[in-house]
Amino acid sequence: MVCREIDYIFQYIDGELGPGEKAGFEEHLKGCPRCRRAVDFMESLSKMPVMEPPGELTAKTVEKFKEHKYRESGFFAPFVAFFAHPILVPVFLVIAVVGILVLNRPVDTNLVSVKISVPMPGSHARVSLVGDFNGWDVSRGRLKKKGENWTGTFRVKPGRYQYMLVVDGEKWMPDPTAKEFVEDGYGNRNSVLDVTKI
Protein backbone atom coordinates (compact mmCIF):
# COMPACT_ATOMS: atom_id res chain seq x y z
CA MET A 1 0.00 0.00 0.00
CA VAL A 2 1.43 3.30 -1.05
CA CYS A 3 1.16 6.33 1.21
CA ARG A 4 -0.65 9.45 0.06
CA GLU A 5 2.25 11.71 0.88
CA ILE A 6 4.37 10.44 -1.98
CA ASP A 7 2.34 12.52 -4.40
CA TYR A 8 3.57 15.62 -2.62
CA ILE A 9 7.26 14.80 -2.88
CA PHE A 10 7.98 17.55 -5.37
CA GLN A 11 5.96 20.16 -3.60
CA TYR A 12 8.07 19.38 -0.55
CA ILE A 13 11.31 19.47 -2.52
CA ASP A 14 10.35 22.69 -4.29
CA GLY A 15 9.52 24.32 -0.98
CA GLU A 16 5.87 24.80 -1.85
CA LEU A 17 4.42 23.30 1.30
CA GLY A 18 3.29 25.61 4.06
CA PRO A 19 5.10 25.35 7.39
CA GLY A 20 2.47 23.07 8.91
CA GLU A 21 2.36 20.81 5.86
CA LYS A 22 6.12 20.73 5.70
CA ALA A 23 6.41 19.67 9.33
CA GLY A 24 3.81 17.00 8.73
CA PHE A 25 5.65 15.74 5.68
CA GLU A 26 8.96 15.57 7.51
CA GLU A 27 7.30 13.65 10.31
CA HIS A 28 5.98 11.23 7.69
CA LEU A 29 9.44 10.85 6.20
CA LYS A 30 10.76 9.49 9.46
CA GLY A 31 8.49 6.53 9.18
CA CYS A 32 8.25 5.98 5.44
CA PRO A 33 11.26 4.42 3.73
CA ARG A 34 9.73 4.78 0.29
CA CYS A 35 9.31 8.53 0.60
CA ARG A 36 12.66 8.76 2.29
CA ARG A 37 14.33 7.07 -0.68
CA ALA A 38 12.53 9.37 -3.09
CA VAL A 39 13.69 12.47 -1.24
CA ASP A 40 17.21 11.06 -1.06
CA PHE A 41 17.12 10.47 -4.79
CA MET A 42 16.30 14.09 -5.51
CA GLU A 43 18.67 15.47 -2.92
CA SER A 44 21.48 13.40 -4.30
CA LEU A 45 20.86 14.84 -7.75
CA SER A 46 20.82 18.43 -6.54
CA LYS A 47 24.02 17.90 -4.61
CA MET A 48 25.83 16.30 -7.50
CA PRO A 49 29.48 17.27 -7.14
CA VAL A 50 31.14 19.50 -9.68
CA MET A 51 33.58 17.39 -11.61
CA GLU A 52 37.04 18.24 -12.78
CA PRO A 53 37.15 17.84 -16.56
CA PRO A 54 39.68 15.32 -17.87
CA GLY A 55 43.23 16.61 -17.99
CA GLU A 56 43.64 16.45 -21.76
CA LEU A 57 40.39 18.21 -22.58
CA THR A 58 41.97 21.60 -23.22
CA ALA A 59 44.75 20.21 -25.37
CA LYS A 60 42.35 18.12 -27.44
CA THR A 61 39.96 21.03 -27.88
CA VAL A 62 42.75 23.30 -29.06
CA GLU A 63 43.78 20.62 -31.56
CA LYS A 64 40.25 20.56 -32.95
CA PHE A 65 40.31 24.33 -33.11
CA LYS A 66 43.50 24.25 -35.18
CA GLU A 67 42.08 21.63 -37.51
CA HIS A 68 38.93 23.66 -37.97
CA LYS A 69 40.86 26.82 -38.79
CA TYR A 70 43.06 24.99 -41.23
CA ARG A 71 40.10 23.56 -43.08
CA GLU A 72 38.40 26.92 -43.13
CA SER A 73 41.19 29.00 -44.55
CA GLY A 74 41.85 27.15 -47.76
CA PHE A 75 44.25 28.71 -50.20
CA PHE A 76 44.08 32.04 -51.88
CA ALA A 77 44.36 32.64 -55.57
CA PRO A 78 46.44 33.50 -57.49
CA PHE A 79 48.86 31.21 -55.71
CA VAL A 80 49.13 27.69 -56.89
CA ALA A 81 47.74 25.44 -54.21
CA PHE A 82 49.85 22.58 -53.07
CA PHE A 83 48.02 20.16 -50.87
CA ALA A 84 49.21 16.81 -49.62
CA HIS A 85 46.39 14.51 -48.67
CA PRO A 86 47.47 12.25 -45.86
CA ILE A 87 46.21 9.08 -47.50
CA LEU A 88 46.27 9.77 -51.22
CA VAL A 89 49.10 10.97 -53.37
CA PRO A 90 49.72 14.67 -53.35
CA VAL A 91 47.22 16.59 -55.46
CA PHE A 92 47.87 19.80 -57.34
CA LEU A 93 45.01 22.21 -57.68
CA VAL A 94 45.16 25.12 -60.05
CA ILE A 95 42.93 27.92 -58.94
CA ALA A 96 41.67 29.79 -61.95
CA VAL A 97 39.23 32.10 -60.34
CA VAL A 98 40.09 34.87 -57.91
CA GLY A 99 37.91 34.75 -54.87
CA ILE A 100 37.22 31.04 -54.99
CA LEU A 101 38.86 29.15 -52.18
CA VAL A 102 39.70 25.60 -52.99
CA LEU A 103 39.70 22.93 -50.35
CA ASN A 104 40.67 19.35 -51.06
CA ARG A 105 38.54 17.04 -49.00
CA PRO A 106 37.80 14.27 -51.41
CA VAL A 107 35.03 11.96 -50.33
CA ASP A 108 35.85 9.92 -53.37
CA THR A 109 39.15 10.55 -55.11
CA ASN A 110 37.54 12.18 -58.15
CA LEU A 111 35.64 14.97 -56.44
CA VAL A 112 37.16 18.27 -55.48
CA SER A 113 35.60 20.68 -53.00
CA VAL A 114 35.38 24.23 -54.25
CA LYS A 115 34.46 27.00 -51.90
CA ILE A 116 33.22 30.26 -53.34
CA SER A 117 32.86 33.64 -51.71
CA VAL A 118 31.33 36.42 -53.77
CA PRO A 119 31.16 39.95 -52.42
CA MET A 120 27.68 41.30 -52.97
CA PRO A 121 26.76 44.22 -50.80
CA GLY A 122 23.18 45.39 -50.65
CA SER A 123 20.18 43.45 -49.50
CA HIS A 124 19.31 40.39 -51.48
CA ALA A 125 17.00 37.62 -50.42
CA ARG A 126 18.93 34.87 -52.11
CA VAL A 127 21.87 34.29 -54.34
CA SER A 128 22.52 31.04 -56.17
CA LEU A 129 25.42 29.73 -58.14
CA VAL A 130 24.30 27.65 -61.10
CA GLY A 131 26.32 25.97 -63.75
CA ASP A 132 26.71 22.87 -65.77
CA PHE A 133 28.01 21.03 -62.73
CA ASN A 134 24.65 21.33 -60.96
CA GLY A 135 22.36 21.32 -63.97
CA TRP A 136 21.87 25.10 -63.85
CA ASP A 137 19.47 24.37 -61.01
CA VAL A 138 18.80 27.41 -58.85
CA SER A 139 17.61 25.32 -55.93
CA ARG A 140 20.77 23.26 -55.89
CA GLY A 141 23.13 26.15 -55.89
CA ARG A 142 21.97 28.29 -52.96
CA LEU A 143 24.66 30.36 -51.33
CA LYS A 144 24.72 31.56 -47.74
CA LYS A 145 25.07 35.16 -46.75
CA LYS A 146 28.05 35.92 -44.54
CA GLY A 147 28.45 39.60 -43.91
CA GLU A 148 28.80 41.25 -47.30
CA ASN A 149 29.69 38.01 -49.04
CA TRP A 150 27.67 35.10 -50.28
CA THR A 151 29.43 31.78 -49.84
CA GLY A 152 28.99 28.15 -50.67
CA THR A 153 30.85 24.91 -51.16
CA PHE A 154 30.44 22.58 -54.13
CA ARG A 155 31.91 19.21 -54.96
CA VAL A 156 32.84 18.78 -58.58
CA LYS A 157 34.86 16.44 -60.70
CA PRO A 158 37.94 18.08 -62.13
CA GLY A 159 37.26 19.86 -65.39
CA ARG A 160 36.06 23.10 -66.89
CA TYR A 161 32.67 24.43 -65.88
CA GLN A 162 30.55 27.32 -66.95
CA TYR A 163 28.43 29.01 -64.32
CA MET A 164 26.56 32.14 -63.42
CA LEU A 165 25.10 33.75 -60.36
CA VAL A 166 21.36 34.22 -59.95
CA VAL A 167 20.28 36.99 -57.64
CA ASP A 168 16.82 36.92 -56.08
CA GLY A 169 15.68 34.37 -58.59
CA GLU A 170 15.60 36.78 -61.47
CA LYS A 171 18.87 38.54 -62.16
CA TRP A 172 21.44 36.41 -63.94
CA MET A 173 24.98 37.63 -63.93
CA PRO A 174 28.45 36.21 -64.38
CA ASP A 175 30.73 36.00 -61.36
CA PRO A 176 32.58 39.30 -61.50
CA THR A 177 35.59 37.74 -59.82
CA ALA A 178 36.00 35.02 -62.46
CA LYS A 179 39.12 35.01 -64.57
CA GLU A 180 37.56 33.54 -67.64
CA PHE A 181 34.34 34.11 -69.50
CA VAL A 182 32.61 32.63 -72.50
CA GLU A 183 29.64 33.77 -74.54
CA ASP A 184 26.59 31.70 -73.77
CA GLY A 185 24.81 32.18 -77.06
CA TYR A 186 22.10 34.31 -75.49
CA GLY A 187 24.12 37.47 -75.52
CA ASN A 188 25.41 36.93 -72.01
CA ARG A 189 28.70 35.81 -70.61
CA ASN A 190 29.16 32.78 -68.41
CA SER A 191 31.99 32.60 -65.93
CA VAL A 192 34.35 29.70 -66.20
CA LEU A 193 35.81 27.65 -63.43
CA ASP A 194 38.73 25.49 -64.29
CA VAL A 195 39.48 22.77 -61.79
CA THR A 196 42.14 20.50 -63.09
CA LYS A 197 43.77 17.66 -61.30
CA ILE A 198 47.27 16.98 -62.51
Binding site: R37, T61, K64
Partner: protein, 185 residues
Protein backbone atom coordinates in the same frame (compact mmCIF):
# COMPACT_ATOMS: atom_id res chain seq x y z
CA UNK B 1 35.63 41.27 -23.66
CA UNK B 2 39.19 41.26 -24.91
CA UNK B 3 39.57 37.52 -24.68
CA UNK B 4 36.53 36.91 -26.87
CA UNK B 5 37.74 39.39 -29.47
CA UNK B 6 41.10 37.68 -29.64
CA UNK B 7 39.43 34.28 -30.01
CA UNK B 8 37.27 35.63 -32.82
CA UNK B 9 40.41 36.53 -34.67
CA UNK B 10 41.53 32.95 -34.37
CA UNK B 11 44.24 33.39 -31.77
CA UNK B 12 45.11 29.96 -30.46
CA UNK B 13 46.36 31.02 -27.06
CA UNK B 14 43.27 33.03 -26.39
CA UNK B 15 41.16 30.07 -27.40
CA UNK B 16 43.11 27.90 -24.97
CA UNK B 17 42.50 30.38 -22.18
CA UNK B 18 38.83 30.46 -23.06
CA UNK B 19 38.62 26.69 -22.80
CA UNK B 20 40.41 26.71 -19.46
CA UNK B 21 38.04 29.33 -18.15
CA UNK B 22 34.80 27.60 -19.12
CA UNK B 23 35.65 23.93 -19.34
CA UNK B 24 34.25 23.06 -15.91
CA UNK B 25 30.87 24.58 -16.75
CA UNK B 26 30.72 22.99 -20.20
CA UNK B 27 31.99 19.58 -19.16
CA UNK B 28 29.69 19.29 -16.15
CA UNK B 29 26.61 20.24 -18.11
CA UNK B 30 27.56 17.75 -20.80
CA UNK B 31 28.14 15.04 -18.22
CA UNK B 32 24.82 15.69 -16.55
CA UNK B 33 22.97 15.54 -19.82
CA UNK B 34 24.79 12.53 -21.25
CA UNK B 35 25.62 10.56 -18.12
CA UNK B 36 28.99 9.41 -19.40
CA UNK B 37 32.47 10.84 -19.06
CA UNK B 38 33.91 10.08 -22.47
CA UNK B 39 30.81 11.33 -24.30
CA UNK B 40 30.90 14.41 -22.12
CA UNK B 41 34.50 15.02 -23.09
CA UNK B 42 33.72 14.76 -26.81
CA UNK B 43 30.69 16.95 -26.43
CA UNK B 44 32.67 19.55 -24.52
CA UNK B 45 35.22 19.80 -27.33
CA UNK B 46 32.45 20.05 -29.89
CA UNK B 47 30.71 22.78 -27.90
CA UNK B 48 33.81 24.94 -27.88
CA UNK B 49 34.23 24.55 -31.63
CA UNK B 50 30.59 25.41 -32.21
CA UNK B 51 31.03 28.41 -30.00
CA UNK B 52 34.04 29.50 -32.01
CA UNK B 53 32.10 29.14 -35.25
CA UNK B 54 29.18 31.07 -33.86
CA UNK B 55 31.31 33.90 -32.54
CA UNK B 56 31.93 35.49 -35.91
CA UNK B 57 30.42 38.90 -36.15
CA UNK B 58 28.79 38.93 -32.72
CA UNK B 59 29.63 40.92 -29.64
CA UNK B 60 28.73 39.06 -26.49
CA UNK B 61 30.36 41.00 -23.72
CA UNK B 62 29.24 39.60 -20.41
CA UNK B 63 26.61 37.43 -22.04
CA UNK B 64 29.18 35.00 -23.37
CA UNK B 65 29.05 32.58 -20.48
CA UNK B 66 25.30 32.26 -20.75
CA UNK B 67 25.46 31.89 -24.53
CA UNK B 68 28.15 29.19 -24.25
CA UNK B 69 25.89 27.36 -21.81
CA UNK B 70 23.08 27.39 -24.38
CA UNK B 71 25.43 26.21 -27.13
CA UNK B 72 26.51 23.30 -24.94
CA UNK B 73 22.93 22.44 -24.07
CA UNK B 74 21.94 22.45 -27.74
CA UNK B 75 24.89 20.27 -28.66
CA UNK B 76 23.81 17.77 -25.98
CA UNK B 77 20.24 17.70 -27.20
CA UNK B 78 21.34 17.25 -30.82
CA UNK B 79 23.49 14.36 -29.84
CA UNK B 80 20.79 12.74 -27.73
CA UNK B 81 18.18 13.14 -30.44
CA UNK B 82 20.49 11.49 -32.92
CA UNK B 83 21.03 8.56 -30.63
CA UNK B 84 17.34 8.29 -29.80
CA UNK B 85 17.98 6.22 -26.76
CA UNK B 86 19.06 7.02 -23.25
CA UNK B 87 22.74 6.55 -22.76
CA UNK B 88 24.70 5.33 -19.85
CA UNK B 89 27.85 3.36 -19.44
CA UNK B 90 28.41 0.86 -16.70
CA UNK B 91 32.13 1.40 -16.34
CA UNK B 92 31.73 5.00 -15.22
CA UNK B 93 29.62 3.96 -12.28
CA UNK B 94 32.32 1.80 -10.82
CA UNK B 95 35.69 3.21 -11.72
CA UNK B 96 37.03 6.26 -9.96
CA UNK B 97 40.29 6.49 -11.84
CA UNK B 98 39.07 7.02 -15.38
CA UNK B 99 39.68 10.74 -15.50
CA UNK B 100 36.81 11.88 -13.34
CA UNK B 101 38.30 13.73 -10.46
CA UNK B 102 36.07 15.33 -7.86
CA UNK B 103 36.88 18.84 -6.85
CA UNK B 104 36.15 18.03 -3.20
CA UNK B 105 39.05 15.86 -2.15
CA UNK B 106 39.53 16.08 1.59
CA UNK B 107 42.48 14.59 3.40
CA UNK B 108 40.95 12.05 5.78
CA UNK B 109 40.36 8.56 4.46
CA UNK B 110 36.87 8.17 5.85
CA UNK B 111 35.63 11.44 4.38
CA UNK B 112 37.17 10.56 1.06
CA UNK B 113 35.36 7.27 1.00
CA UNK B 114 32.05 8.89 1.88
CA UNK B 115 32.48 11.56 -0.77
CA UNK B 116 33.41 8.99 -3.33
CA UNK B 117 30.38 6.92 -2.49
CA UNK B 118 28.00 9.84 -2.56
CA UNK B 119 29.44 11.00 -5.87
CA UNK B 120 28.89 7.56 -7.30
CA UNK B 121 25.38 7.54 -5.91
CA UNK B 122 24.63 10.82 -7.63
CA UNK B 123 25.94 9.47 -10.87
CA UNK B 124 23.98 6.26 -10.58
CA UNK B 125 20.85 8.27 -9.92
CA UNK B 126 21.61 10.53 -12.82
CA UNK B 127 21.79 7.53 -15.08
CA UNK B 128 18.51 6.29 -13.67
CA UNK B 129 16.98 9.63 -14.44
CA UNK B 130 18.30 9.63 -17.97
CA UNK B 131 16.75 6.24 -18.48
CA UNK B 132 13.39 7.18 -17.00
CA UNK B 133 12.60 10.51 -18.57
CA UNK B 134 12.06 11.30 -22.24
CA UNK B 135 14.54 13.84 -23.56
CA UNK B 136 12.16 16.80 -23.59
CA UNK B 137 11.28 16.49 -19.92
CA UNK B 138 14.71 15.32 -18.94
CA UNK B 139 16.40 18.44 -20.23
CA UNK B 140 14.35 20.82 -18.11
CA UNK B 141 14.50 18.41 -15.20
CA UNK B 142 18.30 18.34 -15.21
CA UNK B 143 18.48 22.10 -15.57
CA UNK B 144 16.14 22.52 -12.61
CA UNK B 145 17.17 19.83 -10.18
CA UNK B 146 20.84 19.32 -10.94
CA UNK B 147 21.96 22.57 -12.48
CA UNK B 148 19.61 24.45 -10.11
CA UNK B 149 18.51 26.99 -12.71
CA UNK B 150 15.45 29.17 -12.28
CA UNK B 151 12.42 28.74 -14.52
CA UNK B 152 13.38 31.86 -16.47
CA UNK B 153 16.93 30.64 -16.98
CA UNK B 154 15.67 27.28 -18.13
CA UNK B 155 13.30 28.97 -20.57
CA UNK B 156 16.13 31.04 -21.94
CA UNK B 157 18.68 28.26 -22.34
CA UNK B 158 16.27 25.66 -23.64
CA UNK B 159 14.47 28.12 -25.93
CA UNK B 160 11.09 27.23 -24.48
CA UNK B 161 8.20 29.37 -23.29
CA UNK B 162 7.96 29.58 -19.51
CA UNK B 163 4.65 27.74 -19.50
CA UNK B 164 6.16 24.85 -21.41
CA UNK B 165 9.02 24.64 -18.95
CA UNK B 166 6.58 24.25 -16.10
CA UNK B 167 4.52 21.73 -18.01
CA UNK B 168 7.53 19.60 -18.85
CA UNK B 169 8.71 19.74 -15.25
CA UNK B 170 5.30 18.72 -14.03
CA UNK B 171 5.18 15.79 -16.43
CA UNK B 172 8.69 14.71 -15.51
CA UNK B 173 7.70 14.82 -11.86
CA UNK B 174 4.66 12.65 -12.54
CA UNK B 175 6.81 10.02 -14.18
CA UNK B 176 9.25 10.03 -11.30
CA UNK B 177 6.54 9.83 -8.66
CA UNK B 178 5.22 6.70 -10.34
CA UNK B 179 8.70 5.25 -10.16
CA UNK B 180 9.05 6.29 -6.54
CA UNK B 181 5.84 4.45 -5.80
CA UNK B 182 7.41 1.34 -7.20
CA UNK B 183 10.35 1.99 -4.91
CA UNK B 184 13.11 3.29 -7.16
CA UNK B 185 16.55 3.48 -5.62
Amino acid sequence: MELIKAVMQGDENSFRRLVEKYKAMVYNLAFRMLGNASEAEDLAQESFIRAYKGLKGYDFGHEFRSWLYTVTLNACRSKLRRKKLSFFSYDCAFSYGDGERRTDEPGSGKDELENEMSARESEARLRRLIKLLPLKYRTVFILRYIENKSYEEIAKHAHLPLGTVKTYLYRGQKILVEQFKKGVE
